[in-house]
């Protein structure tokens, strides 16, 4: 069975119809993963029990498969009375899973800031929160724009996992077509090409952002 270009083109609008869902899930998961990851890293930097627990959570999350997280949230939580929609579970699962990785990225970005920076902030009597917000976070962003962008692309490419929860994203749509027509090549290639295009656009955006963040030289 050869590759039928006309059939592929007819698949395209159907699969593209799910691009909104894919992008929405990816975007919310990126924001969620970055927020949770940053929080994890900030707590890990505190000494004492909270810091140790946060460090353990980061390692725990990174050492377990994302599919287990998704299935666990989807199938096990309802036994405890927590019933969530498949989209919510999907976003939560991806956010939690990638928060562990992003915490590591944030750590590298913060470790690269010279220790004179927080010291200068302290000497100027800036509070903890102001120091994080005005001194640490912006410099961290300059250091990690590239790896952060890579993880955002990874999150986008992880959205097909949500097909197992019947979230109507692009891979799910492609499977729907395949199961109706018994043709796999065309819908899968189309879905793959759309992901490729989206990833390229994001990478380009990240590169531009990085250049803007580095305006004015490094130090």
């Amino acid at each position: 069975m050869g590759f039928d270009l006309a059939f592929a083109l007819s698949c395209a609008p159907i699969i593209l119809g799910a691009v909104g869902t894919t992008l929405f899930v990816a975007f919310v998961s990126c924001v969620g993963a970055a927020s949770i990851g940053f929080l994890f890293e900030m707590v890990r930097r505190m000494c004492g029990v909270a810091g140790a627990m946060s460090g353990f959570a980061i390692d725990f999350i990174r050492s377990t498969p994302v599919l287990i997280w998704l299935y666990f949230l989807y199938f096990v939580l309802p036994f405890y009375g927590i019933r969530l929609g498949s989209m919510t579970v999907g976003v939560m699962g991806l956010s939690l899973y990638y928060s562990g990785y992003l915490a590591e990225v944030f750590k590298a970005g913060i470790d690269a800031i010279p220790k004179g920076q927080p010291e200068a902030a302290r000497a100027l009597s800036l509070g903890r929160r102001d120091t994080v917000f005005y001194v640490i976070a912006p410099q961290m962003m300059r250091n990690i724009a590239a790896p952060l962008g890579n993880y955002f692309v990874s999150i986008l490419k992880a959205t097909p996992y949500l097909a197992v929860l019947a979230v109507p994203e692009m891979l799910g749509r492609a499977f729907d077509i395949a199961s109706e027509t018994y043709r796999y090549a065309e819908p899968l290639v189309v879905a793959g090409l759309i992901f490729l295009a989206l990833a390229l656009v994001i990478s380009y955006g990240v590169k531009r952002l990085e250049r803007r963040l580095l305006a004015g030289g490094t130090r």
């Binding site: 302290r122 305006a215 004015g216």
Partner: protein
């Protein structure tokens, strides 16, 4: 009032250890308002640690350190309030590289002193003029020379209107031709009556502005004298030798 006659910095029997290393050993030092103290000594002698203790960047284990009427290290809020009376200038400038010169100066004014943007910018510009660099207000630190960056750092520290300025080897990271522009600013500051504690090897500067000069080695102040006497004769066998080397160099 009593607070007025109280010296701005009063240090008695200060000890500090980094693990087994005894970095500060029985330090006594009093800085009266409106006076300048210069601390010199070989590297590793504890002089940077001492000046960092004065504004609470470093803690200490024994003795007492009073800053602006508050004993540091008792409670975090008191220490923070006393630190607000200080301005600090670092060897490596430590300007915020992602902010313009002007924003470097206005950040604490806006977030700590609660000034509006325009108020903060007026104050910052006045201090940038004082260090003779107002034309660089919109530049980023990375676009400035070392001497210019250090002058901005001085302006930034002055913005919160400190009662005492602490300088931790402010010219040690500078190329020789840039040292003078920074020292000129510091001398002008001293002439304006600013209380200063300065860790430096610039003996010309010490001779010009210092009221007291202290020589540190091995965590102790070995020798201390009013500046004039210090440069004429120095009591400790280690210090004249070091000074001679420093002065020749």
């Amino acid at each position: 009032m009593h607070a007025q006659s109280d010296p701005i910095v009063g240090i008695q029997g200060l000890h500090k250890w980094f693990g087994a290393l005894h970095v500060l050993n029985a330090i006594d030092l009093t800085v009266a308002s409106g006076t300048r103290v210069v601390v010199c000594g070989p590297s590793g002698s504890g002089k940077s640690t001492l000046i960092r203790c004065i504004n609470g960047l470093e803690s200490y284990q024994e003795g007492a350190l009073r800053l602006a009427g508050t004993t540091l290290g008792l409670d975090a809020r008191g220490t923070a309030a006393a630190r607000r009376q200080t301005g600090m200038v670092f060897q490596s400038f430590n300007l915020f590289p992602h902010l313009t010169v002007l924003s470097n100066c206005t950040l604490a004014l806006r977030r700590v002193a609660g000034k509006s943007r325009s108020e903060a910018e007026d104050i910052a510009m006045a201090h940038l003029e004082r260090v003779r660099i107002p034309e660089k207000a919109r530049s980023y630190p990375g676009q400035l020379s070392g001497g210019q960056q250090q002058r901005v750092a001085i302006a930034r520290a002055l913005c919160l209107n400190p009662r005492i300025m602490l300088f931790d080897e402010p010219t040690s990271a500078l190329d020789p031709e840039m040292i003078k522009e920074v020292l000129d600013v510091m001398v002008a500051l001293a002439r304006d009556g600013m209380t200063m504690v300065c860790v430096t090897h610039e003996m010309g500067f010490a001779r010009e502005v210092a009221d007291q000069v202290g020589f540190m080695d091995g965590g102790s102040i070995l020798d201390r004298a009013p500046a004039r006497a210090f440069f004429r004769t120095s009591g400790h066998p280690r210090s004249p030798l070091s000074l001679e080397t420093i002065l020749k160099h």
